[in-house]
Amino acid sequence: MKFASTRPPHVRPARSVTRVMGEVLLALVPATVAWTWFFGPGILYNMAVATATALACEAAVLALRGRAVRPHLADLSAVVTAILLAFCIPPLTPWWITATGAAFAILFAKQLYGGLGYNPFNPAMAGYVVLLISFPEQMTRWLPPLLELAGTMPAALDAWQTLVFTLTGTLPTGTGWDALTGATPLDDLRTQLQLAVPVDQVRAAPLYGVFGARGWEWTAAWIGLGGLYLLWRRVIRWQIPAAVLLGVCLPAALAWLLAPAAYPPPTFHLFSGATMLCAFFIATDPVSAATSPRGRLVYGFCIGLLIFVIRSWGGYPDGVAFAVLLMNMAVPAIDHFTRPRTYGHAG
């Protein structure tokens, strides 16, 4: 009797790229819900625009390169890039800006380097930085959380008005930007600290919450929860998130202990801006991160350190994107110097 050939190992693998990416998307669901709850449906529109653009760009390049389109679209990596990008941009963003970011991320940061697995830079962060530099005004128009705060918070757009804005870039008649938007907590803190207002006094404002800022701290917590899910599912390993968080906390705690009036406590850093998103979802992008366990510790810690440095002394309120891109550049060197000891070889 004749038999068909097969190659070892003959056990069915439990994982696939699609599954890994799918788990990442799943882990972002609670944070998306929280985000929508606090900041309105804008993020959902941005996600839709970014995903559609990313998939279209990916398909177009794959077709141009003569690659199989379907399996590469089904790997969901482009969707993950799009969703992460959508998490970084303000809820009220016209569609062409979102589309520009997503297109840059896929076309330039990913496919020009050879597609999935070959991009040295995190595509979502590359796309975001392009937007931050090209559309500085639009990229800093953040909405305050939709909370009942006895008239301290400005009015908000409803779902329809947000959609109209996303599609046309025009606000409803009679509504101005000043009435709608405010600075992000990180931005506000930064401005106030430059005016030599002590941290305690700044954080007494209604914008701020227990750890970070109202709304923001909750989304950060839900993102952290999603991250724990990824750890539990072994989609990511503990080294990068732990190192990023430590990298932020350690210098933040030191600065705070030395000058509590000029520096917010480390918990504020953890629950503000994109720290959590970075630690669990952005820095952990395997393609652009260091791969050895020790290398991941170094990589993550340096990202955390850079986030703190850029936030405290840099020109931008949040430094996640720059920190990640800078460390992406250092990955080959980190990997080179942190090779694990092979069994039976001396240290």
């Binding site: 050939s5 190992p9 199989a68 697995g117 395997p286 393609v287 092979t342």
Partner: protein, 531 residues
């Protein structure tokens, strides 16, 4: 037990209360429930036995019989060729009908020389090897000689000649018997331990005697309590305090000797070394049983236990199989194929290789036959690009960086691979299984190793050629120099000779002149005198 360990001799003690970990590995579904439930069965004598001359690591054996010759069960039919080699014995009585290349079970799927015996159904035994009652009276070299004569090789899968391993030297700390059968489907060692624990124990005693080692530890995975209990009972019955059983966690590839030594002792075998370098010797439990039979009963290695399993087999079980029996006969003895049999594997689910058809013979290294259904094996999924997730490195028991190795191997940039310790890869397949992109990593590494070996061979060959060429040139140069020198000498000699001639000529000339001068004066004188 710990105290006994310390009393046992120098070095790190194997302490069952303290086990170490090896890096990575995978917890795999054992898939042995069905086959391990039935006792070891027998296979009817097949009409033809095909015995490859190479069933072991080392040079193929040389035939010691010729076609037409009648052989008896257990009679040596091929002798080892070189130190690293093993005898082959007839596994039943009959007539040698052919010595010719036949397809053999090997990943390459190629043919190799085999001795084919047509059995006569009599199973008439050969009595060349004497049984002995007391092996403790024999010396190490005598025991080794008996093991070598019986053609025993490692039965765990590697098939390294056991007698060669027994020449490891003296002063070893521990004998480690490997009953950690970690690969899915395989349970032949478990059944051996359950049914023939006394034989394994005797084997351990013989090996301790042969190597002059004070203590032995038998490692059995903790998901095989019946096997542990059976061996422990046998040890108690024999009252041998030198041998202890240790339950080790069932993690693939713990059965690899380097991994097992790490788990038991916390020590690592040096990369280019072997376990005796750090004081340990590892033998499979099946090998120990074969050693026991060879030494005490004078039985050569002509049969072994094989697990026959998979959804493609009606009644999976373990069988005592004569070497040379076609795989089809094994499946027949297990109730034949079910309709689901789609693939045939030799070995386990991780490192086993596919067989093209079931006429191939069972050899010394065959521990398992799997007739797998389509659902049991890995489907052919499209290979996606590496996303550098590093899961391969997380599971690698050799602590390698498979993703880096792959990166270089794929681009055929093989030189840096040695630097990344490619040759420490044990090809266990863990990285393959962990890879979300379905990259056949182990295949790449096998290819890269073969390619590097080939290049090394080529380099060695070209080195030899260059050396030869240089030697020839030197020789020719030397010859030319010598010839030149000879010619010069000749020329000089000739010159000298010519110089002599000129001198002689000058002398002659001078003499002639003198003569003429004298004649002239004579002439001057003579007329006067004559006048």
């Amino acid at each position: 037990m710990a105290a006994a360990c310390r009393a046992g001799g120098g070095g790190t003690a194997v302490n069952p209360a303290r086990l170490w970990h090896f890096h990575g590995g995978l917890k795999l579904d054992a898939r042995t429930a069905r086959a391990a439930a039935a006792p070891i069965g027998a296979v009817p004598l097949p009409p033809r036995l095909v015995l490859p001359l190479s069933q072991h690591v080392g040079q193929p054996a040389e035939p010691a019989v010729s076609p037409g010759e009648r052989v008896l069960k257990g009679q040596p039919i091929a002798r080892p060729n070189g130190y690293v080699g093993a005898k082959v014995h007839a596994s039943s009585s009959g007539t040698v009908v052919e010595i010719a290349p036949h397809p053999v079970p090997h990943p390459s799927g190629l043919s190799a020389p085999c001795i084919v015996i047509e059995t006569d159904g009599l199973d008439e035994p050969w009595t060349g090897y004497e049984p002995i009652t007391d092996f403790t009276a024999l010396t190490g070299p005598e025991l080794r000689a008996r093991v070598r004569a019986a053609g025993v090789v490692g039965l765990g899968g590697a098939a390294f000649p056991t007698a060669v391993k027994l020449g490891a030297g003296s002063g070893l700390k521990r004998l480690i018997l490997n009953g950690a059968e970690c690969e899915p489907y395989i349970c032949c060692d478990e059944l051996l331990l359950r049914e023939r624990a006394a034989e394994v124990l005797t084997g351990a005693q013989v090996l301790l005697q042969a190597l002059d080692i004070a203590r032995c530890v038998v490692a059995i995975e903790d998901d095989k309590p019946a096997a542990q209990a059976a061996l422990e009972a046998a040890i108690r019955a024999a009252g041998d305090a030198r041998i202890e059983v240790v339950a080790v966690p069932a993690i693939y590839p713990e059965g690899g000797e380097r991994q097992l030594i790490k788990v038991l002792t916390g020590e690592e075998v040096p990369a280019r070394g072997v376990p005796p370098d750090i004081g340990y010797l590892c033998q499979n439990v099946g090998t120990a049983a074969a050693v026991a039979r060879a030494v005490t009963r004078g039985e050569p290695l002509i049969s072994r236990i094989v697990t026959v399993t998979g959804d493609g087999v009606a009644a999976p079980r373990n069988l005592e199989v004569r070497l040379g029996t076609p795989v089809a006969a094994l499946v027949e003895a297990c109730g034949g194929y079910t309709g689901q049999a789609a693939h045939l594997l030799m070995g386990g689910a991780m490192m086993g290789f596919p067989l093209a058809d079931d006429s191939l013979p069972v050899i010394k290294a065959t521990n398992c036959i799997v007739a797998a259904s389509r659902e049991e094996v890995r489907p052919r999924a499209p290979v996606m690009p590496c996303i550098r997730c590093g899961e391969c490195a997380e599971v690698c028991p050799a602590q390698l960086l498979p993703q880096q190795l792959y990166w270089h191997a794929r681009s055929d940039d093989l030189e840096p691979l040695d630097d990344y310790h490619l040759f420490d890869c044990i090809e266990c397949g863990c990285c393959d299984l962990a890879c979300p992109s379905q990259i056949p990593l182990t295949q790449y590494f096998r290819y890269a190793k073969t390619e590097l070996w080939a290049r090394q061979r080529d380099r060695a060959r070209s080195d030899i050629a260059r050396e030869r060429f240089e030697a020839r040139r030197e020789r020719l140069d030397a010859e030319q120099q010598a010839r030149k020198k000879r010619l010069e000498e000749k020329a000089r000699a000739a010159d000298e000779a010519r110089g002599d001639e000129q001198a002689r000529k000058a002398m002659i000339d001078a003499a002639l002149e003198r003569v003429q001068a004298r004649r002239g004066s004579d002439r001057d004188d003579s007329p006067g005198s004559g006048a």
